[in-house]
Symmetry: C2
Subunit: 297 residues, 2 copies
Amino acid sequence: MLTGATGFVGAPTLGALAEAGHEVHAVARRSGPELDGATWHEADLLEGADVLDEVRPEILVHVAWYAEHGRFWDSRENVRWVEASLALLRAFVAAGGRRAVMVGTCAEYEWGGEDNLNEHDSPVRPATLYGACKEALHRLAAAQARESGFELAWGRLFFMYGPDEYPARLVPSVIRALLAGERAATTTGTQVRDFMHVEDVAMALVALTQSDVTGPVNIASGSPSSVADIVEKIGALTGAAHLIDRGARPTPDGEPARIVADVKRLEREVGYRPSISLGDGLRSTVDWWRGRAPAGR
Amino acid sequence: MLTGATGFVGAPTLGALAEAGHEVHAVARRSGPELDGATWHEADLLEGADVLDEVRPEILVHVAWYAEHGRFWDSRENVRWVEASLALLRAFVAAGGRRAVMVGTCAEYEWGGEDNLNEHDSPVRPATLYGACKEALHRLAAAQARESGFELAWGRLFFMYGPDEYPARLVPSVIRALLAGERAATTTGTQVRDFMHVEDVAMALVALTQSDVTGPVNIASGSPSSVADIVEKIGALTGAAHLIDRGARPTPDGEPARIVADVKRLEREVGYRPSISLGDGLRSTVDWWRGRAPAGR
């Protein structure tokens, strides 16, 4: 059973799970497109976990969360999703579930250091409500798993991009401006981040699901890229680099200089390496937006 | 509204709230004794928080939790109570609640140091599932309070004793053995703890409820007592000190030497000082057990 199956991460994860031959039960408030190997279940997990009693899955992949752009960092909806996720896990245990894969975030870690963030030693000290709620849920879910005897893997997602991302976010906003022949005002872009194509995120989650690895696992590329680098690549791909106004927007106060994952666990224990380079991933993302009408921006 | 109103802490808290002139709505799975100023509501908070919609309290005092002796430290019921408490708080917000007083524990702190544990500087690093769940709930509830605009006070309870405590726990087990003329096997009892009579705990919770103090507040005496000291006092009060076999039971591995609260916040900000000395408190507890039949042990 996959929750959040119509979302930015959930939709490609659904495709990758079905592709891998699983019998997938996809949960979302409204069904997505039909897909071989997948059965849709319309349910709002904030209203209860009855859908789990019905499906009684062996494996739960819980991706659903509140993710509204610009609001999710500090919204109390995060607390509500902790509650709903605990109810979901409890129903999963009652239904005899064997393995749960849940989705955490790089925002659980303390930001501001120079080192790649790893699951063993890096301080876990979230600075945002989103990070704090994910981190609290991780600890509670791990306890639940230990006491109830199911396996728990906790995939910490870093920075993602790809088709169908919310238009106001960095990558799509720059692509859409440049494709429309409009100026794209950006920060100086010296911040270094760990970007992974969302299709790679989905495949890594499937690999994690199929493994017997438990505990936290960074789901990331391990490759540092500056924001300026990404913006320049988009400029080259769209042939509109001259429209980029780098430095026109101030870098927000307290923006950490570097957030990059150590991906040894993902590579060595889960056995997954990203297959989509940043150049290829940005190219196909630009192509995806080219295929959309520019209206509605 | 008071939850857990028939429990070891809840029952005297109900009495103290009613005594202070509040209109109290007492919640428990089964009603307790009738009391002027109190209205009983039978509800199982693990099944939902509908009772809150009905009462719509201005102030919530949430004492209910899983507390089964010998099991509560590591039971997954703790996780379930986090979920239920989040649902309760959400209903409290929806009903327009103004102030919530919730109950935490000294087990949220890291144990093993020499200093009195204080709310500002002492490391919060729970070693048990009970402590971890309380600590996670505190952080989640504080976020909820901040984002939803209600006041949250978090009373951290330390060691308690008094009438009607679960018979297998330290103080009642020694009292009952000595009153029955039986041998009481104890550890060497060098562990130093912070003991507070449960009636004092109840009055401190009422003082906290009536104050506008927010955040964590230790609810404790601030006075160190060794376990041996308490056992000896019980020996003197029962006239059966010769039945105490001190050192007959091994001290559990990893038992911290000292767990004592810094109570400056409670004294200075809440304005509460304990009124029952350890000697008086133990005397009335012994008297309470004297009034019970020794059968059923």
